[in-house]
Symmetry: C2
Subunit: 261 residues, 2 copies
């Protein structure tokens, strides 16, 4: 099977013009099939503030009401997605920016919770595998904004980490798939204040041990659980590390690699 | 050759939620190959006002400065483009929303004028014909936002009428292409205050005669010149008419048809 890299960049990188430019330059040099999934960054929040739209928060989570959905659609699927695409084109990477509505790429449903109304948040039902295969076989590089749709005309806001994981899982039946989460940290750290304390390799038994000893930073647990889910469902490898070391991450010379055994 | 319809909807329709919904429902029923090009509408101006961004105007034209480009990219390529795509998907039309940067679909350069600095306005250099052929042969319906790129990482604002004409021209070598401009009027009118005064057919000689007699409303002349340019370059037929009569327009039962002879 051919190799496929699915790489997610977080909001902090998206917000930082020079960090983003550096990242995209490296990303464009990756040979073969690749997909970029980007987060949203703080621009949507700043836009909402500038327009006087009140942000509803419940337990630290932003609620996606109708006005917020409008803004995140503009910012994520418009401004960020098209700028990333234009910059990748500049570097000779034949990028195509898409949201989940385009070609029915990612079908979702509005999250159903009897406790909290999250608003227009989408949980993924299906990835349009044949569409992504079509793009990849035409040497195109999908750049995915974290906006999905429900097939009934409604756009939805979906977590970019989850999109990356669902894509990796769906495409792992056709490609040897590596899922890469990049952010501002050097990887999974034993000591969150020490960038040199990166754990190079985590397999399931070691993860259990680290969790039992409370050595994993709470904020990292959902990402790692997500990573092991992806591995269980067919993804070959998950790498977590620093966006500005992308090529080293892919070579296994930086960051944390999560593997099955 | 197969038939291809390239249909442009203007800003007034895009701004009117129920008129847009009605138009998209009709558009989705068109059999075979079709492309939708949409204008911008007033939402970008309203957004800029809400954010306190001053709109620079020169001779009634909005200048696309960096802040305005950011907003039109958000609104045209984000909000409007993705909503139209989601609604077409709802109606069973396999739409894919794209801007000129996506897959290098429409390459342009920043307009060069020694008299007026239009800002980030793009004049089209090249349409990526093979990409559009690829989409159409995969039964996808491109939905195009009036944003292009220069191949050097810069997004540009490009007139939607011109995009529709350039696409129709480029694709007319491979399809029997009909270009349709839809807006809120019933067609080219002999009397701009009388919707019943639609001219059903305009050929070059009649156009010369109408212009000589000053019978063409000034605002319509660029659209008609554009239409004859398209015909000269290989487009089979141009139709101008009311968005809410789309199917009648395509059947020749409404609007103004512009033909070569």
């Amino acid at each position: 099977m051919n190799q496929l890299f699915i790489i997610k960049i977080g909001g902090n990188i998206v917000d930082d013009e020079s960090a983003l430019a550096h990242f995209l330059q490296s990303f464009a040099t990756i040979e073969g099939a690749k997909i970029l999934v980007h987060g949203g960054g703080k621009l949507a929040t700043r836009m909402a503030e500038a327009m006087g739209i009140q942000q509803q928060m419940i337990e630290g989570r932003r609620i996606t009401d109708a006005e917020t959905l409008k803004i995140v659609t503009m910012v994520y699927a418009g401004y960020i997605n098209k700028n990333i695409t234009a910059i990748l084109q500049q570097h000779g990477c034949n990028a195509i920016g898409i949201s989940g509505a385009d070609a029915n790429a990612i079908l979702a449903h509005k999250r159903n919770s009897s406790i909290t109304d999250y608003g227009f948040v989408g949980d993924i039902d299906q990835v349009n595998i044949s569409f992504f295969q079509q793009l990849i076989s035409n040497q195109l590089t999908p750049v995915i904004a974290p906006i999905t749709h429900d097939g009934k005309g409604q756009l939805l806001n979906t977590n970019a980490d989850t999109i990356a994981q669902e894509l990796a899982t769906a495409l792992s039946h056709f490609f040897t798939t590596t899922l890469v989460y990049t952010f501002e940290k050097s990887g999974v750290l034993l000591d969150t204040n020490d960038e040199a304390s990166v754990i190079p390799l985590i397999a399931p038994d070691y993860y259990k041990e680290l969790k039992a000893k409370n050595l994993i930073f709470a904020g990292m647990i959902p990402k790692l659980d997500n990573a092991f889910t992806a591995l269980d469902k067919g993804v070959s490898k998950v790498i977590i590390g620093k966006a500005d070391q992308l090529i080293h991450l892919l070579n296994g010379h930086s960051g944390t690699t999560i593997t099955h055994a």
